[in-house]
Symmetry: C2
Subunit: 186 residues, 2 copies
Amino acid sequence: MTTSETPTDNGVNVQALLDARTALTDAPEAAQFTWRASNQWLRGTHSRSAITGFFGLGAEHNHRSSWSFDADHPEVFASEDNGPTPVEYVLVGLASCLTAGVAAVAQNRGIQLNAVKATIEGDMDVLGILGADPDVRNGFNGIRVHYEIDADATPEEIEALVAQSQKRSAVYDVITNPVNVTVEVA
Amino acid sequence: MTTSETPTDNGVNVQALLDARTALTDAPEAAQFTWRASNQWLRGTHSRSAITGFFGLGAEHNHRSSWSFDADHPEVFASEDNGPTPVEYVLVGLASCLTAGVAAVAQNRGIQLNAVKATIEGDMDVLGILGADPDVRNGFNGIRVHYEIDADATPEEIEALVAQSQKRSAVYDVITNPVNVTVEVA
């Protein structure tokens, strides 16, 4: 482990998060968040989603910007590939959640990060979504995430960062454990 | 139900999908796909993901374009809100998957869609990710999807479209059922 003379600065305000933990423990109703997206069909398998705001700390919030995301199926599925597939958005969510966690945990542990890169792969047997084999699931058979991390820390400390990030990751939980989804039509 | 004199055209090539189902049933190794993303930490909880290609039909494929997605935490978490939160990307994935399915199923059933809109909300108690309460999960407590669909069909037929889309949705499966995720560090 390299001891640095400058304070660890990964750009995460850990003190604010620790303060929030204390404040929200005392006011648990403020910890109830609702995240949202809207989606509009364009044509074929092509749709556009928008993200603008969310609810939390007892109030509505707008993001600093609004974002729009096209999704589509690829040409090998006879579609026009106007955007990533929906399952690729899930991979983006998982990778970005784990990486944010690595940075936050590293800051909390006084470990300076120099570079963090991840690759993520999800295997899928498309006989499931095609309805060709009822024994094949529609979603991923499994997901593999591979991190390369340059930090002022030992390999064991770096492994522990990633393990703690998994332990606190919202998207890791959503993917590895069941979530109830209700779908209704107006 | 309105009977249209023009053929149903939702922009989905259902015949190609039915042909693919037959072909892949005869050559199941070609049905094994791997979807990918890469992710790079920028600073704080801000990271950037890229989507460029995937494996399927026994070969590597590039998407028609490459896409880049910034993710971050919002200002209420003492972050800079440089992109949607990772969990919002998961909502984009679910909504876009279900909408693509509605279009494909409608085409297969000869139902003309005129407009499809969805809103999606995921509830989360952030005491989980803050590590404040071990009995609170990190991910969504539940997700609600609400569709508004204008189609040349009865309300019952429209409900059935959405139900069938759920039944074949990859992302719905990933979220409602467990997926194994392995994370390793180089």
